[in-house]
């Protein structure tokens, strides 16, 4: 091989999800498993293939498993992992001391749904740009009336495929320089004015409205302070109206748009997946 690997393409994770598996084997009576993944499609395959093919020891040989619910939109793996741990150990988590233990009439599935319903409503998760997604509609449950999630957290339905965020190609060894050069160039070429304070905005500090007809720019901090006028005791905004086009936008969406992972996933139709024929059945 003569090729020298001087070019590297960086792939970044932008999808971080915490999922719930349901065991469909009657022998294991609706057992539940909670896990973390950056790729749900691959992960469920690993679980069902067993521990020698990347699946967890605890689920290995105890399937078949269905990934029924996934909470995604975590902005970092650390945030997702903490969520995973708390969902797995609600009675050890300091933030979930108000969540009672599973009652006799509660199935494991119902209990875990109750736990996650509670989690979405409390700090440190209730201001994160999360989505609760039922991957398998036959298992879908409603939120209890007193456990409705925060208004900015959507409930979604349908399978997803994680997209990888691609960074531009860079030469190995010259990464640092090129990266800096690129950033400088960007800043030279594209300095905009902050819609709010009218000052110059460097690309690294810029947020733009993602609606194509708007595209206004602000400093990250200027817009945050603008959004937080209605919540003065908080530091992290959740949503607000774009000062230019007045549309309601989620803070999480703005940040994702800035980091070019606005599509952290794509919906897939059942026929596109390579799995069980029964997945394709319409209900």
């Amino acid at each position: 091989m003569v090729y020298m690997l001087t070019l590297r393409c960086y792939l970044l994770e932008s999808f971080f999800g915490v999922y719930m598996l349901y065991c469909t084997n009657p022998k294991f009576k609706g057992r539940i498993y909670i896990g973390f993944t950056v790729n749900p499609e691959r992960r469920i395959g690993q679980h069902n293939a067993g521990r020698h093919r990347g699946g967890a020891k605890r689920t290995s040989g105890r399937g078949p498993w269905e990934m029924v619910l996934i909470i995604h939109g975590f902005p970092s793996d650390i945030a997702a992992l903490r969520f995973e741990w708390a969902w797995q150990h609600p009675h050890s988590s300091r933030r979930l001391s108000h969540v009672s233990r599973r009652s006799k009439k509660e199935s494991s599935l119902q209990f875990h749904w109750r736990v996650v319903s509670n989690m979405l409503r409390v700090a440190p998760w209730n201001r994160l740009p999360l989505t609760a997604r039922w991957l398998k509609q036959e298992y879908r449950m409603d939120f209890e009336p007193h456990l409705q999630p925060p208004l900015h957290i959507p409930i979604a339905f349908g399978s997803v495929r994680a997209k990888k965020k691609k960074l531009p190609l860079q030469s190995a060894g010259e990464e640092e320089e090129e990266k800096e050069e690129k950033e400088e160039k960007e800043e030279e070429e594209e300095t905009s004015r902050c819609f709010l304070c009218k000052g110059l905005v460097k690309v690294s500090e810029k947020l733009s409205c993602f609606h194509p007809s708007c595209g206004m720019s602000t400093h990250v901090i200027c817009l945050a302070k603008h959004f937080l006028k209605s919540e003065p005791s908080h530091l992290l905004p959740v949503e607000g109206d774009c000062p230019a086009c007045r549309r309601s936008v989620l803070w999480g969406s703005l940040v994702r748009h800035k980091h070019c992972c606005f599509g952290d996933l794509e919906e897939i139709t059942p026929s596109a997946s390579q799995r069980h024929w029964a997945d394709e059945l319409q209900i």
Binding site: G35, R42, R43, G54, S76, D77, E84, R95, P124, L235
Partner: protein, 274 residues
Amino acid sequence: MHISVVLNNVFLFVSSASSHNKRRRTLVAITPLPHYSDMDTPELKNKLTRFGVRPLPKRQMILKLKEIHQYTHQLVSSDSEGEAPSAGCTARTKHPHTSSEVPGNRPASCAQRVTFKEPRAPAAVSPLKPHREEEAELLSASQGSNTSSTAAKLCLSSDSDSDGGISASQAVNRLQDRLRAVRSLILSDSRLYSQILQYQPLVLSQLQERLKAAGIRLGAAKLVDYLDSQCITFTTAKPGQSASSRRRGKRTAKGTKAARDRGVGRKRAVTAMI
């Protein structure tokens, strides 16, 4: 004349001047420290279990018993409110000691049980309504998990004041001041605030260094409570070390992709306490 007063678990012994002793004595905890250092291990184990604490290595048992004795026999300041001083301690002892194995849980376990009831002294309230609301929200935001400053006085958290004798409302005010200071620090540091706004996890140790440098005395437990109330993600991992890079290092049979989803080593990123 001797008066014995039992205030929950705290024994106070008041002795007025007797005929042969003109010296006036103030409230003093008189029950002397038992000779824990001389007891043998089964005896220490016994004493510990009475407090709901599991058996520990001998040296640690002695230290723990001395600690407990110190906190159950504190000087009670004259202007303390009726809030039961040992409410914090009994709460703590109810908490099985195995929870201390979960790092970080112990300092706040006391605070977890007691709910904060005390209102601020009216004189201290700012006349500006929005400011007050903000402070109330600031306090309630950090109280969200039932942390209490009334328990701060006797709580075995690492950030309790060394002079121990402050009243409950003073403790609350101090905590609020410190939280305000943390908030100001974040708002004044554009790089830091920008990081938070883009959901990038903060390295806890680095933040603690910043606070220390700024002269803000806030223990880890209270800081974590505040960060949680603000939904700010943080990590106790060393800088430059992330969960994903640690996972990638632990490759198994089927290559990096399998390793990335695996549970091996991941827990460290979360420090299993929260």
